[in-house]
C-alpha cells in the first residue's frame, strides 16, 4: 500500500502521466456525476414527499445543500493543494488551485442564490443575515481574493505560490469564521445532513439528497480534471509529447476532447 502511494506520488509529478490518466477518470466520473445529479434531481423534484412545513419549496435543498457542501470542500481542496505545492513543489497542485477557484466560487454563488430563493417562501425575505448564509458569503469573498491575487501577479510560478499561501490561510480561517459567525442567533435550521449522524428527515427525503451530493462531487472532480488537462496542455505546449498529441488529434477534425 505504502509503496503504491509513493509510486502514485512520484507519478503525479509528471503532468503528462496525469493528462492521460485523468482522461480515463473523466470517462467514469462525468457519467456517474451526471447520472447521480439527474437521478437525485428527478427524485427530489417529483418523488420525494413535500415537507410538512415548507411544502414543495423544500425541494430546493437538493440544489442548495450539495452546492454548499461542495463549495466548502473545494476551498479545503485548494488549501491542501497549496500545502502540497509549497512543500513538494508539485506543479499539478498549482493547476488544481487555479482551476478549482472559479469552480468553487460558482458553487458558492449557487448555494447563496438557491438559499436566497428558498428564503422567500420560507422566511418571506430574499436575504437573511444568519450564520450559514454569512459564512457562505465570506467564503465567496475568500474565493474572489484568491482569483484576484492570481490575476494580479504576472509571473505564473509566483502567482501560484502566492495563491497557495492565501488558500492555506483561508482554509485555516474557515472554521474560525464559521464558528464566530455562529455566534449570531440563527434563523437557519440545524444541519440538514450529516455524514456521521442519522438525519432527522425520512429516508425518501435524504436518500435522493445523498445521491445528489455524490453526483456533485463526482461532477466536480471530472470538471476539475478536465480543466487541469487543459492547463497542462497550455503549460507544456512546447514539449514534444504535446506536439505529437496535437498532430494526432488535429488529423481527426472535431475529435478533440
Amino acid at each position: 500500500m505504502w509503496t503504491w502511494i509513493k509510486q502514485l506520488w512520484h507519478k503525479l509529478g509528471s503532468p503528462r502521466w496525469f493528462y492521460d490518466i485523468a482522461a480515463s477518470w473523466i470517462r467514469w466520473l462525468l457519467p456517474i456525476g451526471i447520472l447521480c445529479i439527474v437521478a437525485g434531481f428527478v427524485w427530489g423534484l417529483a418523488f420525494a414527499p413535500p415537507d410538512y412545513q415548507q411544502g414543495n419549496s423544500f425541494r430546493i435543498i437538493y440544489v442548495h445543500v450539495p452546492s454548499a457542501m461542495l463549495a466548502q470542500s473545494i476551498f479545503i481542496t485548494m488549501g491542501i493543494a497549496g500545502v502540497i505545492l509549497l512543500v513538494w513543489r508539485m506543479k499539478l497542485a498549482d493547476m488544481v488551485i487555479k482551476i478549482a477557484a472559479p469552480i468553487g466560487a460558482s458553487f458558492t454563488a449557487l448555494a447563496l442564490a438557491s438559499g436566497a430563493i428558498w428564503g422567500v417562501p420560507t422566511w418571506g425575505t430574499w436575504w437573511v443575515w444568519d450564520a450559514r448564509t454569512t459564512a457562505m458569503l465570506v467564503l465567496l469573498f475568500l474565493y474572489f481574493g484568491v482569483i484576484a491575487l492570481r490575476q494580479a501577479i504576472a509571473r505564473e510560478e509566483t502567482a501560484g505560490k502566492a495563491c497557495a499561501i492565501l488558500a492555506i490561510v483561508g482554509m485555516i480561517d474557515i472554521p474560525i469564521i464559521k464558528y464566530s459567525v455562529n455566534w449570531w442567533l440563527t434563523l437557519h435550521q440545524g444541519a440538514t445532513f450529516r455524514l456521521t449522524a442519522a438525519p432527522a428527515m425520512p429516508p425518501e427525503m435524504w436518500i435522493p439528497l445523498l445521491i445528489t451530493v455524490i453526483g456533485f462531487y463526482a461532477f466536480f472532480v471530472a470538471v476539475l480534471f478536465q480543466g487541469v488537462r487543459g492547463e497542462i496542455l497550455r503549460r507544456e505546449h512546447r514539449t514534444r509529447w504535446v506536439s505529437e498529441l496535437v498532430a494526432q488529434r488535429g488529423a481527426l477534425p472535431g475529435a478533440a476532447s
Binding site: L45, G55, V120, P121, F219, G230, S257
Partner: protein
C-alpha cells in the same frame, strides 16, 4: 411520485417559481462548469494544430525556395 399529474409537478403547489428557478440556476452553473474546460481544451488543441501547420508550411516554403547551393550542400 408525490404529484398526481405533470401539471401539478410544474405548479409545485404555488412554489413553482422558487423551485424551478433554483434548479434552473443549478443547471446553468453545472453546464457552464462542464463546458468551459471542454471548450478551452478543444480550442487549445486547435490553436496548437494550426501553429504546427503554419510551421510545416513555412518549412515547405523554405525547402522549395532553398534549392540554392547552401541547401544542396546540406543535403548532399
Amino acid at each position: 411520485m408525490s404529484f398526481d399529474s405533470f401539471a401539478e409537478l410544474l405548479a409545485m403547489d404555488g412554489h413553482a417559481l422558487y423551485v424551478w428557478a433554483s434548479y434552473g440556476l443549478a443547471l446553468l452553473v453545472l453546464t457552464a462548469n462542464a463546458l468551459v474546460p471542454v471548450l478551452y481544451h478543444r480550442r487549445l488543441l486547435h490553436q496548437q494544430w494550426q501553429q504546427q501547420r503554419r510551421a510545416q508550411a513555412r518549412e515547405a516554403v523554405d525547402a522549395a525556395a532553398g534549392s540554392g547551393p547552401q541547401h544542396a550542400q546540406e543535403t548532399s
